[in-house]
Amino acid sequence: MIDSLFLINHSGDIFLEKHWKSVISRSVCDYFFEAKEKAVDPENVAPVLQTPHHYLISIYRDKIFFLSAIQTEVPPLFVIEFLHRVGDTFLDYFGECSETVIKDNVVIVYELLEEMLDNGFPLATESNVLKEMIKPPNILRSVVNTLTGGSNVGNTLPTGQLSNVPWRRAGVKYTNNEAYFDVIEEIDAILDKSGTTVFAEIQGVIEACVRLTGMPDLTLSFMNPRLLDDVSFHPCVRFKRWESERVLSFIPPDGNFTLMSYQVSSQNLVAIPVYVKQNISFLEAGSCGRLDITIGPKQTMGKTVEGLMVTVHMPKAVLTVNLTATQGTHTYDLATKVLVWDIGKLNPQKLPNLRGSLSMQPGAPKPEENPSLNIDLKIQQLAISGLKVSRLDMYGEKYKPFKGVKYLTKAGKFQVRT
């Protein structure tokens, strides 16, 4: 399946290679570099490339290309999904997934890759199993290791792979038993010039942080499960129970994990928390333009909108901006032509406004399209769909855990066309 993996940084240096079958020369990456050159934007590089002898499947995340070389037919999503899993694992182990961190921990990275694939076929991808085999680094341990010459490879052999609950290891112990669930909803929307909703939907995830002793069996039930239209689960969730009773029944993995993601049924009207009044215009003659944006609350269910932020990808012709904001700060990146207005909390009494002029490259034609606005926001303690967790029960263990549920609404891909 996956023959080789190359990690390539933003500027096109291969800084790590790993082969699971016979060695494939790194010159195979030249085809990729060619495509990358052509694509201009790293996001535009086709994920699947065909070369005379290999197929190259790549992903781009955190400014790193994960490029895999493949020789035979394999479902492309299989590889893509796996590469992302590799990225997730790095994130999980090192707290970030960047070139520096990978270089610093190159041995652990190599050991991880060795465990994750065998002959190109995924072997152990569950973080719990991996962590038992290869301990993640931390400062204390690395100090101790340098003093004692110890290692980060587990001395005990893992059991997870062999248990029938592969995502949870046996013998977990905590003094404080706690289980927290975050219900996070994102609004994906496209609003047109006049503020009408072209398209809107709500996507949600339930992130869990479970630190419980032993082998607890949890049941999470909702007040209004009918809201959930399309769901996907962590493998631990028993699908049959969901089908019949609409409750989530599961033996949780240890630590942080995504329990489920869902989509709210499209019949429900999506509440749009803010409205945007904007006026962006470029003058035909002369090299300048105007910009005026005001944001106000719309359907916020009585909560305050926080972390409000507007991002505008300006046309290439815009040289500088001269703007004043009544609230928050704004920055304009000259290289990428991105205007970011960080507003913060939305005050309904005094609506934030950003206005001013844009100076254009002299002689350039008037941009045809006004740039669309991407809105970012957060509303604490609210699930915009109205989803509510009714209770969490635990079976199989005697102690009483500490339980908590938090709600959060965010803007997902929230775009206002102008």
Partner: protein, 1108 residues
């Protein structure tokens, strides 16, 4: 480029070049920086005694490997540490070994013994990792060692080790493809494994080594379906993809009837945008017709097909995009049309994922939308484009939107497109214009609107936009040119400004083609073009020549000179295409005396009505690739791609399904149990291979489970039952024994048994009851009541019960059924009696096989007492109660016809060298079966078959018996043939247990000893054994041995010894068997036989009979 060349340099001299690069690399951490000098210090560190130093050295070496630096010269120093106690050092050494072993084969061999030791370690994880590394070392010399290791690991107790073995299979295969056959054996064994851990890996191995051996899946199909949800996600993907292919070969197209209906109603036409799809429909129809001709009944989905669909559906909820996609493609390729819709939602969900995932999913959605548009229509808005999407995603979304467009939603879509046209991303704008063009061609109502919109775009400031519009307009105009002369005029004006060659060429072509609509403008355009001819691009030049030619033909007055001018210019053009074209056209249009008949038709040639181009999706017809595959994405066959087979036209041959449907999922566990009973002895008798598989599996129920699609909770109870079943079998035999005992010396106290026997059964068999009453036994077992009947019958009666259960569910005719069943039994008995009369005309005092245990055991007993003489022909002492029936054709696979066979142990009259095989036919179906006969006999060389006479009619619910003769040539090879009815053919095979390949031979003790003396050495096989508790007396032994093999007892003075003799059927070689009993159930079995193979097999069988 620069990096790779740098790399190449480094490879040459790793030590010298490495340093400067690190010097200015600020990112490199501790490992990279200072201590990367010479390899000498690393060697020193590796040779030291301190683990910490070794570890440090190994870490640095691994870091080198990771960076792609050459560290191969350290091989000898590293390989020494392979046996290091420190786990981490060891691990890193493994990493190094796997990387460089291929380059340093000889040195790599030094490490092999360590792994071989590791393979024997009590810790499963060490065994597994040893196998993993051993199999990853790509050194050809160790292929045999790897093979051995894999074989051993495949029967390891630990599923984790077995998983590793499955992983090792493709590794070995890629190293040495000649091992394929052996590897397939291992795969077959591992496929039977019931643990979820192994399932995914072994299917992966199957796909890489022998994807064409679809027959290996038959037996495991249901198990895989049922385990699927618990398999790890990567395995799920592989299994689902494989099962898709499998189902395509085994089941019927579920949409057959629908396509028929569609044609009848004609209402679904708009589902299919283009003609070709309709063709395909017609094809389908033809197929459908063929099928209906054959079957004349509505399509019923195979329960197995349904099982697959049902069990994969929950996986649409998986968090893994690859799994969701796999299920989606399975549904797309296999599900009835009405059910495919469920995948849309899941696929739309994936669009929220990473952009790479979106890219792949959209490609597949684009293909699906062409075939099944309705499915995605509700999700139209999910494909709306955001300005932040990468271009490739935008273009794919556009493709999907275009495919989804229809009369009802076109206005919304066009409004959306309008916003896209303003985008800053010009490639995307061009694609949008193309999309508008496609909408316009597909949906007549909006053609004018689109055209107007596009014409407006002609005044766009961006040249690319204009050019693209021109190209699209050209295509649209071709559909109805007469209406649009204004547009053509407008475009003619554009030639002054527009520079994009493709657009210029398009305009010129338009003017030339429709010069009659713009008679004034056209010559003027030509004039301008002639002026600029030399500066134009080739494609434009060609169109100028074209235009000139067309004008010359229609309006030669005005353009004659111009045309000649253009042609002269073209004559001296640098491009030979243009020169050729000019020469060609000149000959064609300018009449000279030389020019032939063609020039007369020049006008027809040039100004013929041209069909409008069809604007097609690039995703059309991509669905002949399996969706979700790499090949589909690239629209080209990737290496190792397995073609998705077409649906079979008719249900696959039932005899193939025979293997595939060893059990009926829906049947109750009792029926399962019955089937196992039949199969178990069958396999253990005949197939050494499968026998090994069973015994290798340590789990108690694996033998039964390997064939069953046994599912979770039921498997436990099931295995219990099967145990019970086998116990009861044994008890049956014990009963026989006790009966015998009673009859001869009456050792045991008589007990009346009727009272304890379960009453219902006896009601059903009143006549037997009376017989039974003669015999008495300690009937503590419930199975007693059945024990007197021949085994085949007892199975039948068991069989009837699940049958009844089924009936209860389905049809109301339960009592009637019962009645016929009863009749069957009676008749069967009579029939077989009759039959024997027919075939055994010899008046000798034969004991017919069905004549029950009574006389038979009497005979054996008499023999035991040495009372027998020639009056009782030894040939007739076949212990009929032990006549085993084997299944030839299951009633489900045979569509109601069930066939069993047994070896009657009668001489086959027409040919003494043949073994007589008695075949019982039972027609369980509701219709008559006609002209039962056999055909197409396939035999190993030397074998012969005497076919049974054709049975002309077998009415519903009736049974019949026939006798056929097979000369097996003294071997246990199978006789394969087709069993034909008037409608169907079934592939069946008969394989004899070795004990049936001989016939009894009567001799005295002295003769026996003499013959035995001559068959010593190689011809004698002796085996020690402990007799089973139940057969520690002489009678039991006699019983067991004569059951296992068709031998006669030789009188013997000692009561410690039992002797048997026989001759093989074909070559009349002597077979002598001696069982000498000792204390405590110990015994010694001796077989003397000229044919050593037969001897060895016979020993095995008799041992089995005596010890169990």
């Amino acid at each position: 480029m620069s990096t790779s060349s740098a790399f190449n340099d480094e490879k040459g001299g790793s030590s010298s070049v490495g340093e400067p690069e690190y010097g200015h690399d600020p990112a490199s951490g501790g490992i990279f920086s200072s201590d990367y000098k010479r390899h000498d210090d690393l060697k020193e560190m590796l040779d030291s005694n301190k683990d910490s130093l070794k570890l440090e050295a190994m870490k640095r070496i691994v870091a080198m490997i990771a960076r792609g630096k050459n560290a191969s010269d350290l091989f000898p120093a590293v390989v020494k540490n392979v046996a290091c106690k420190n786990i981490e050092v060891k691990k890193l050494v493994y990493v190094y070994l796997v990387r460089y072993a291929e380059e340093q084969q000889d040195l790599a061999l030094l490490s092999i013994s360590t792994f071989q030791r590791g393979l024997k370690d009590p810790n499963q994880l060490i065994r597994a990792s040893a196998l993993r590394v051993l199999s990853s070392i790509r050194v050809t010399i160790i292929v045999p060692i790897m093979m051995l290791a894999i074989k051993e690991a495949a029967s390891d107790m630990s599923p984790y080790v077995r998983k590793t073995a499955a992983h090792a299979i493709p590794k070995l295969y890629s190293l040495d493809p000649e091992q394929k056959d052996q590897l397939i054996e291992v795969i077959e064994k591992l496929l039977a494994d019931k643990t979820t851990l192994v399932a995914g890996s072994v299917v992966m191995a199957f796909e890489e080594v022998c994807p064409e051996r679809i027959d290996l899946i038959h037996k495991n199909y249901r198990k895989l379906c049922n385990l699927l949800i618990d398999v790890e996600e990567w395995g799920q993907v592989v299994i689902i993809n494989m099962l898709t292919r499998y189902a395509r070969t085994q089941f019927l197209n579920p949409n057959i009837n629908e396509s028929l209906l569609e044609e009848g109603g004609g209402g679904d036409k708009k589902f299919y945008a283009s003609d070709e799809d309709e063709d395909e429909d017609e094809e389908k129809d033809k197929k459908a017709e063929a099928v209906t001709m054959a079957k004349r009944k509505p399509y019923v989905m195979d329960p197995d097909h349904r099982l697959l669909l049902r069990n994969t559906k929950p996986l649409l909820q998986s968090r893994n995009a690859a799994v969701v996609m796999a299920v989606a493609q399975l549904y797309f390729h296999l599900a009835p049309k009405a059910e495919v819709g469920v995948i849309a939602k899941a696929l739309v969900r994936l669009l929220r994922s990473h952009s790479e995932v979106q890219y792949v999913v959209l490609q597949n959605v684009a293909t699906m939308t062409i075939k099944r548009r309705g499915m995605f229509e509700p999700y139209l808005k999910s494909f709306y484009i955001r300005s932040t999407d990468p271009t490739q995603i935008k273009i794919l979304k556009l493709e999907v939107l275009t495919n989804l467009a229809n009369e009802t939603n076109i206005s919304t879509i066009l409004r959306e497109f309008q916003t896209y046209i303003k985008s800053m991303d010009k490639d995307f704008v061009a694609a949008t214009i193309q999309a508008i063009g496609r909408c316009a061609t597909n949906i007549g109502e909006v053609r004018d609107t689109c055209l107007n919109g596009l014409v407006q775009l002609l005044s766009n400031r961006d040249e690319l936009v204009v050019a693209e519009s021109v190209v699209v307009i050209k295509k649209l105009l071709q559909m109805q040119p007469e209406k649009h002369s204004d547009i053509i005029k407008h475009m003619a004006k554009l030639t002054d400004n527009i520079q994009v060659p493709m657009a210029r060429a398009s305009i010129l072509w338009l003017i030339g083609e429709y010069c009659e609509h713009v008679p004034k403008i056209a010559p003027d355009v030509l004039r301008k073009m002639a002026k600029s001819f030399t500066n134009e691009e080739d494609i434009v030049k060609l169109q100028i020549i074209n235009l000139a030619a067309k004008l010359y033909l229609t309006n030669s007055k005005q353009t004659k000179l111009l045309t000649q001018y253009v042609l002269n210019l073209a004559k001296y053009d640098q491009n030979y295409d243009i020169r050729d074209r000019a020469r060609f056209i000149r000959q064609l249009i300018v009449p000279t005396e030389k020019s032939g008949a063609l020039s007369k038709y020049a006008k027809k040639l040039f100004l013929a009505l041209k069909p409008a181009p069809v604007l097609e999706s690039p995703f059309k017809d991509r669905d002949h690739f399996q969706l979700g595959s790499l090949s589909h994405l690239l629209n080209a066959k990737a290496g190792g791609y397995q073609e998705l087979p077409d649906w079979p036209e008719a249900a696959p041959d039932p005899s193939v399904r025979n293997v595939e449907v060893p059990e009926w999922t829906k049947c109750s566990s009792r029926e399962k149990r019955k089937e196992k009973k039949v199969e178990k002895p069958f396999y253990s008798d005949s197939e050494g291979e499968s026998g090994a598989t069973e015994s290798a599996d340590s789990e108690s129920d694996s033998a039964s489970g390997s064939e069953s699609g046994s599912e979770d909770s039921r498997s436990g109870s099931e295995s219990d039952e099967s145990k019970e079943a086998s116990e009861s079998e044994e008890e049956e035999e014990e009963d026989l024994k006790t009966k015998k005992n009673k009859e001869k010396p009456l050792k045991k106290p008589v007990q009346e048994s009727e009272s304890e026997q379960s009453s219902e059964e006896e009601v059903r068999k009143p006549e037997r009851k009376s017989k039974q009453s003669k015999s008495d036994s300690e009937s503590e077992s419930e199975s007693e009541s059945e024990s007197e009947s021949s085994e085949s019958e007892s199975e039948d009666s068991e069989d009837s019960e699940p049958e009844l259960k089924k009936k209860k569910k389905g049809a109301p005719s339960k009592p009637a059924f019962k009645a016929t069943k009863k009749d069957n039994k009676k008749e069967k008995k009579e029939m077989s009696l009759l039959d024997l009369d027919d075939f055994e005309p010899a008046p000798s005092p034969q004991v017919t096989p069905v004549n029950s245990f009574l006389s038979n055991s009497l005979v054996t007993d008499l023999e035991g007492l040495s009372l027998s003489d020639s009056a009782l022909m030894p040939a007739t002492i076949a212990p009929s109660s032990a006549l085993k029936s084997y299944e030839l054709l299951h009633r489900i696979t045979g569509e109601g016809l069930s066939v069993e066979y047994c070896f009657s142990r009668q001489p086959f009259i027409t040919d003494a060298n043949m073994v007589a095989v008695q075949v019982h036919f039972t027609n369980n179906s509701t219709s008559d079966t006609k002209s039962l006969h056999m055909e197409d006999v396939k035999l190993q060389s030397g074998m012969r078959v005497k076919e049974f006479p054709e049975i002309e009619l077998l009415p519903a619910g009736e049974t019949a018996t026939a006798v056929m003769g097979i000369d097996f040539c003294d071997s246990t090879q199978t006789a394969n043939f087709q069993l034909c009815t008037h409608t169907r053919k079934f592939f069946v095979s008969i394989q004899p247990p070795v004990g049936e390949l001989m016939r009894p031979f009567f001799m005295t003790e002295n003769e026996f000893k003499k013959e035995q003396g001559q068959l010593m050495g190689m011809n004698e096989i002796t085996e020690k054994l402990i007799l089973d508790v139940k057969c520690r007396n002489e009678h039991a032994i006699v019983q067991k041995v004569t059951t296992a093999a068709n031998l006669s007892r030789v009188p013997c003075g000692s009561d410690k010894e039992c002797r048997f003799a026989g001759r093989t059927v074909t070559s009349s070689s002597l077979v002598l068997v001696t069982v000498a009993t000792k204390d405590q159930g110990a015994a010694q079995l001796t077989v003397n036989c000229e044919k050593m193979v037969i001897g060895t097999m016979l020993v095995k069988d008799i041992l089995l009979a005596l010890t169990q």
